[in-house]
Amino acid sequence: MPDATFLDSTELVLNMGPQHPSTHGVLRVILKLDGEKVLGTDCVIGYLHRGVEKIAENRTYAQFSPYVDRMDYVAAISNGLGYCLAVEKLLNVEAPPRAQAVRVILTELNRIASHLLWLGTHALDIGALTPVFYCFREREEALKIFEKYCGARLTTHAFRIGGLQYELYEGFEQEVKAFCDMFLPKVDEYEELLTHNRIWLSRLKDVGILTAEECKEYGVTGPVLRAAGVKWDLRKAQPYSGYEKYDFLIPTRQNGDTYDRYMVRMEEMRQSVRIIRQAVGAIPEGPVMAKVSKVIKPPVGEAYVSIEAPKGELGYYIVSDGSTQPYRVRVRPPSFVNLQALDRMVRGALIADVVAVIGTLDIVLGEVDR
């Protein structure tokens, strides 16, 4: 901080949030400012705290699964998948191949929906008003598939422990294929609007840089990590739900700035389409539910399962004491861990960059506060 020259300027403390539109919910950031320059930030979280982990302790295993949808509500299917996989690991069962294929299709569709919401709101924060309409138009198509499949658009509760509750509806495969065909050109359309846009470039380039070493120090995962050049994707590193069968790339970039994170996410959407196309062409026949007793009573033990959610590594750690209710459920949400890098990313930047960086971290406060 430069010394005050002629005015005894004290640092200004400014509250951003919890009602600020660009904090994506109820995040409150206390900014220490020197004029327009950010000297430091302090995140105040907990405005959306519902005690999800505590709720788990007095629900049965099956009863808790609708609650996980309400953590990261824009990627509810990924949350459900992680929880189901964790309980399945405790029970030592595996979902049948048909269920696994459907799970992959739906989670990848959800990744696209989540990234679309991120792109729309992020662009809106930066000041590009148009993309949000296009993004929501395509997201609607994905949500329609969810609604037809499981009866809800957002808090889907699509998966059950041991497989799926619902069989595929008639025309599912055609609709998913049609979505893929429709969607790929649309990604180019978004890129046309944004990628070489001069305002977009000057707002995002070299803003909020997080190097690979810093990412590892903070435990940051997901597109933020991959934009820094680390090729780390749990779908490849520890494949779950049959991801090893599908051929896809892990998009990475080198600089680790906001623009690179944008590019990584755009490429991820294309790769998701690639996975969906492979999976939907080869959905095996068979049952959708493994043999799981109606009253789920896992043996005493613990299990940790982490999956690659749209925002990063989403982990569930479940301790079972042999009863019908979990002894402890701990969630490792990607948004919560990624958010702590905010201070490092915006120190020395301008207030407008804080908005850009919060947007690029792609946080969902339901998941941060739980």
Binding site: R137, E140, K148, G151, A152, H157, Y169
Partner: protein, 152 residues
């Protein structure tokens, strides 16, 4: 030079832009739904207002009073009592309370129902003027939701 001047005079760019606008006026590009005049079509599996189904042939309740839905509910919002009918030697549901204000429409109750009696229907208009109105009784559940038809 002259060409660009003429372009300005005859507002060529304006018409080009308008052409794009009108090209997108096709009905298949229109996403706005005229609710409530036109009700949105929700999916067949939509999880909305609950209903207790009756046997379509006899009109008797399908519910067998097993209490499984109440046990499955994560929010414990279903409260039911049942009684043994001496004539038929069967359990019959007597009272049924479903608190829709606490329901999160996860569908676990309808999954648990062994006789397809409890079902989450496609109706989504659940707002009431009172809190008490959110608690649905057996009679309301069996009659099913009665969505208001608006005409414009």
């Amino acid at each position: 030079m002259i060409w660009s001047f003429l372009k300005k005079v005859f507002l060529v760019d304006l018409f080009e832009g308008l052409w794009v606008t009108f090209r997108n006026q096709k009905t298949k590009y229109i996403y706005t739904e005229q609710y409530p005049a036109e009700r949105p079509k929700v999916a067949e599996r939509y999880r909305g207002a609950p209903r207790l189904n009756l046997n379509p042939e006899t009109g008797e309740p399908l519910c067998i009073g097993c209490n499984l839905c109440a046990l499955a509910c994560p929010e414990n919002l279903i409260v039911m009592t049942s009684e043994r009918n001496e004539k038929t030697k069967r359990k019959e549901m007597k009272t049924f309370l479903f608190d829709t204000s606490r329901c999160m429409f996860c569908g676990l109750c309808e999954d648990a129902c062994p006789s397809d009696a409890l079902e989450l229907t496609q109706d989504f208009e659940l707002a009431t003027y009172t809190r008490e109105g959110q608690v649905w009784t057996k009679q309301m559940m069996e009659e099913g939701p009665k969505p208001t038809r608006y005409t414009c």
